[in-house]
């Protein structure tokens, strides 16, 4: 294949994986909501609702605000979706099989997560409107707080692999998954993952107390695109969490890629449940916990992982 075809095929594969994952999360979220609310689960509407919403979004016009930053409004959802795709490219699907396996895969993923805060801030700042701006400021505080626990939790998975490559991080879990080797890692990663996707208890920038926060001024396809980008980011976070902590493609009987899908699905199910079962955390509380509890715990996690290797 020519390099151009390879790039196109890879892009299509990533987009497909993210789309399937985002659809699964949207449907799972609907099911979890119905179960918690004690309402009947109406299968067909649940399955068709995401498509119908997409069509309605395409049918609906866009709106503008007073003196927005037009470029920022256009770039923010694309940036968030692009970051999800960038993370997804690194996902190992089988032994040595990933669309890209840079030696610094861990740092690339961390940079993608760091840029989520730029995407969300840009999305909230660019409409030039109060509620989105508050959401943007909030995410600044949230994102700066989760950065260090995130880096430390991921770093501990790089220690047994003796490499920053995500493929090597999965390979190092052939005998023992990281979730067993370093039990603190996955919970910290999940907390941070909810914050990265501003989802459920950590939906602070787009929270209900801001009537939608950074997306309060979005209409039509812009709103839809932002929601899809956010779901994609959650899928990427879940997929890479499964790779870094749940042994990726390792598992008995079933083929590797299926295990990746199952483990990603498990983490997505946890996220869908958290959305409906856990109340939104006060921002002050989250920032405090992140700095005072998660950072030391993540450090402890690194030390323990290091001690095992000596």
């Amino acid at each position: 294949m020519s390099p151009l075809l390879e790039v196109i095929a890879a892009a299509a594969a990533v987009a497909g994986l993210l789309a399937v994952g985002a659809l699964a999360l949207a449907i799972g979220d609907g099911v979890a909501g119905a179960v918690v609310a004690g309402r009947p689960i109406r299968v067909l509407p649940l399955l068709t609702a995401p498509v119908a919403r997409a069509m309605l979004a395409a049918r609906t016009g866009s709106t503008t605000t007073e003196r927005p930053d037009g470029a920022g409004r256009a770039v923010a959802p694309a940036l968030l979706a692009g970051l999800a795709a960038l993370a997804m490219v690194l996902l190992p699907l089988g032994p040595g099989v990933a669309l890209a396996d840079p030696d610094t895969g861990f740092v690339v993923y961390s940079a993608a997560v760091a840029f989520v805060m730029i995407a969300v801030f840009l999305h909230g700042w660019s409409p030039n409107s109060t509620l989105p701006l508050h959401g943007a400021y909030r995410f600044g505080a949230v994102a700066l707080s989760f950065q260090i626990p995130f880096l430390l939790a991921m770093l501990a998975t790089a220690l047994p692999a003796q490499s920053l490559s995500i493929v090597r991080i999965v390979e190092a879990q052939a005998g023992l998954w990281n979730v067993v080797r370093e039990p603190l890692g996955l919970p910290i990663y999940l907390v941070v993952g909810l914050a990265v996707g501003f989802w459920g208890p950590l939906n602070l920038p787009d929270g209900d107390d801001l009537a939608g926060g950074t997306s309060a001024e979005d209409a039509g396809w812009a709103r839809w695109l932002w929601q899809v980008a956010r779901l994609s980011m959650l899928v990427a976070v879940a997929a890479l969490g499964a790779a870094a902590f749940l042994g990726g493609y390792f598992g008995p009987i079933l083929p590797g890629p299926l295990w990746v899908a199952l483990k990603t699905g498990l983490l997505l199910a946890v996220m869908a449940g958290a959305q409906h079962l856990l109340a939104r955390v006060r921002i002050e509380r989250f920032v405090g916990v992140a700095w005072v509890l998660l950072v030391p715990l993540a450090l402890l996690n690194v030390f323990v992982s290091g001690a095992f290797l000596l």
């Binding site: 179960v35 609310a37 498509v51 395409a58 049918r59 505080a141 009537a211 921002i283």
Partner: protein, 428 residues
Amino acid sequence: MTSVFHRMAAAADAPVFALAGAGMRWAVQDLLLADGITLVDSPRAASILLVAGELGPRLGEAAARVHDALPHPRATVLWASAPDGLAGAGAERIGPDADPVAATRAVFRDLVLGGRPSEPALLPDVDPATWRGVGPYGQGGSGMTGGTPYGRPMAELGPDRDGLRLDVLPTRLGPFFAPLPAGLELDLRVSGDVVVEARVTGSEVGTSEAAGGSAFVRALTQPQSIADLEMARARAHLRWAAEALRLQGLRAISLRALELARTIAPGDSAAVGRFATAVQRTGVYRWSLPNVDDRRRSLLADARLGPVSRACGGVDDERLADPAYIALGFAPITDVGDGVAAVWRARFGEASQSVDLASRAGSAVTTVTGTTESPRGRIALGDAPTARALEFVPALVEGLEWGDALATIAALDLDLDEMAALAGVTAA
């Protein structure tokens, strides 16, 4: 081909932004349970503007502004409503007894399939002041940061608690800000996420006739069945819970509260208890609700704001003055912990207690008129707990972060309908 896509779009739940006018707050809340429509928090996310009930004269123009914020294609459904501001909209009008869900679905379908034209803007799109062409960027000002850019005054500088002078952003919320009751307008000055100053600038929803009278208002003038009153109280607390839970991001459990409010039967206090446990398991008491410091507690304790005051150390309850309640062995619920979480516990406790009282009250009626204990506190002719609570709002929220401020306001259960109804009782 296009029509296939349009038909698929028309199959989606109709996104509705609802303006709850006088006396229609709960009717609008019930729409959360309806299939085929979704109530959204921002007019930008809606296709249909649903105006329920009468809007006060000051709210007409605000409603028109909300109308113009909806993206095209948009339509308005006026449900027992004829507000001045929306007169030119070409809206669908339905009567008070019509089914709003079916009407909204029909309008939405027509709109998406192209059978109904999208409504044009009601207000002219003009700048607040002339500014174009003035200043180095044509932004209407001069100097490095441009004077009054775009005809709007610059934000002010204000002190923060670290002794720095940082910018303070004036923000107006309402009268149709989803987390607040419709009609309530707040002027906030926020520094970052902290509310530095708050003022209540509007609390009008409609006339007292339209606001209607609850059983509690009727109890001011004539004896009422205690069983009915207590069930109304339990339902009010559960409906409050549905709103407050939604504000905390718990939409699914909020629907459970609403369902329970509609179906709860006298004596079924176990159902309320199970629900309160489910709420507690969400961690909302532990990590979502703010503290209430001593200064604020002492403000609220003696304000006779019902569960709010009793959660802050107060003991007043008008029901204690009624021998009929004493005969039932009634004792108010106090000592429920600290902070806004205590108000939540007090309301759930009272809902449970009221359901229990209702089953034991039999045909007993109230024996005291003139004052009554509503779910929001002491009411009397011309004296509404919401009116008293509104006076505390600035003192309560200043210094709090945005989310904490809104959670605190939500805990007060401001009911502008009750306020309007009681104002009407004095006049009569």
